[in-house]
Point group: C2
């Protein structure tokens, strides 16, 4: 974040004022091998994908490679932290360099957020002790082991602690829209929703554990065995 | 696609039978600079990101780099084609190498699909002449210029022509679930929906042009000016 109103090229930053928004916001999305991704765009919000090393990381099925553009060390104090999920969060729960980064960054973030199993990393860093939080529906026990109170809601907000956790994968869209409202304003969030035409009409109704029957759950478990 | 039931390592392919699915399916997702992305995973479906050159391409806001893993020439006949959208589709509407690939691939695909402005590329290749189709809500006129009949639906299917077009960005999720049903079975699609916890509860109701008021539309237009 640049408090001088002058951007990296030395040009006067007028975007924020033109759009009726506040300061420019730097959102750091942590990347790691075997992550799951979702994203969003607003002119006053810069999204930077960070990780241990610059270069490519792969989603958990290895089919999508995306680029880490900066290291954790290079972005110690982002305005917003987004920790995505995926099986790749497991080793990070024991990765002291990542946990230290999370703890340090959280001291000065406007919002510290996670999607899916990203909350297990926030939990491992000690940020969720005693707080209600959410994660992928299959990982409530692991979240609880970090001292959090697992909650079957799509997005769980704690304004005082500046922490928001979103449930599995697609819930990141709902959280991203809410974040835009918090960081810019409601019209910006509604504009983002219109830009991505997010007027969902799922063809089926099996998007939560409560709505899915045993046949569906059995198939999910079968597919999970193929994941390695 | 491998009709012998033996995979590349020579091992017997049992996954498809275990999961009650059909043959393994190869889905080619076309990539290009300034695209917009979404994706999905099922054990019997291989997703390959293809483009003009192997290596990195960037989303339209340049904030996300993802990897092209194979060239159009290397995948002339995928089982499924997915053409995503983004401002990056504009030059492709005049790129004869891409249009030839689309025309050739479409002859043997099980499904030829697009998300957002990806339909403008299918249209430019002549695939949508006289067909109802959809695209991002801001691009109906361009779609119509390719001889298609723009339709304000989230997903438009033509089983006889094996063509499915989805509207802006997030509509790709609904289409992907429907594709899984078509390629595997309904339980697989419902399992995919549960895996990504797609039980959407948008925080606002501005996800379509019909639902958004003038204030929101004005903001979208303002943001579009920042896009370069």
């Amino acid at each position: 974040m640049n408090d001088t109103g002058v951007n990296d090229t030395g040009a006067l930053e007028t975007g924020a004022h033109e759009t009726g928004a506040h300061d420019r916001v730097q959102v750091a999305i942590a990347l790691f091998d075997r992550f799951t991704a979702l994203l969003q765009r607003i002119p006053t919000i810069d999204v930077i994908f960070i990780g241990h090393r610059r270069g490519e990381v792969r989603t958990e099925n290895a089919m999508l490679g995306i680029t880490v553009d900066a290291t954790f060390d290079e972005f110690p104090e982002p305005d917003v932290m987004v920790f995505p999920g995926g099986v790749g969060t497991r080793p990070l729960e024991h990765d002291e360099r990542v946990l230290d980064w999370v703890r340090h960054a959280h001291r000065s973030t406007r919002w510290t957020t996670s999607v899916c199993t990203g909350s297990l990393v926030l939990g491992a860093a000690g940020l969720l002790a005693g707080l209600s939080a959410t994660t992928h529906w299959s990982c409530y026990a692991e979240l609880e082991a970090h001292g959090a109170v697992p909650t079957a809601r799509r997005v769980v907000e704690h304004p005082d602690e500046r922490i928001i956790t979103a449930a599995g994968v697609s819930n990141g869209i709902d959280m991203a829209l809410r974040l835009v409202e918090l960081l810019v304003d409601r019209t910006a969030a509604q504009a983002a929703q219109l830009m991505i035409e997010y007027d969902p009409q799922p063809p089926f109704h099996s998007g939560s554990l409560a709505k899915a029957d045993d046949t569906i759950l059995t198939r999910v478990i079968e597919y999970a065995r193929h994941r390695r």
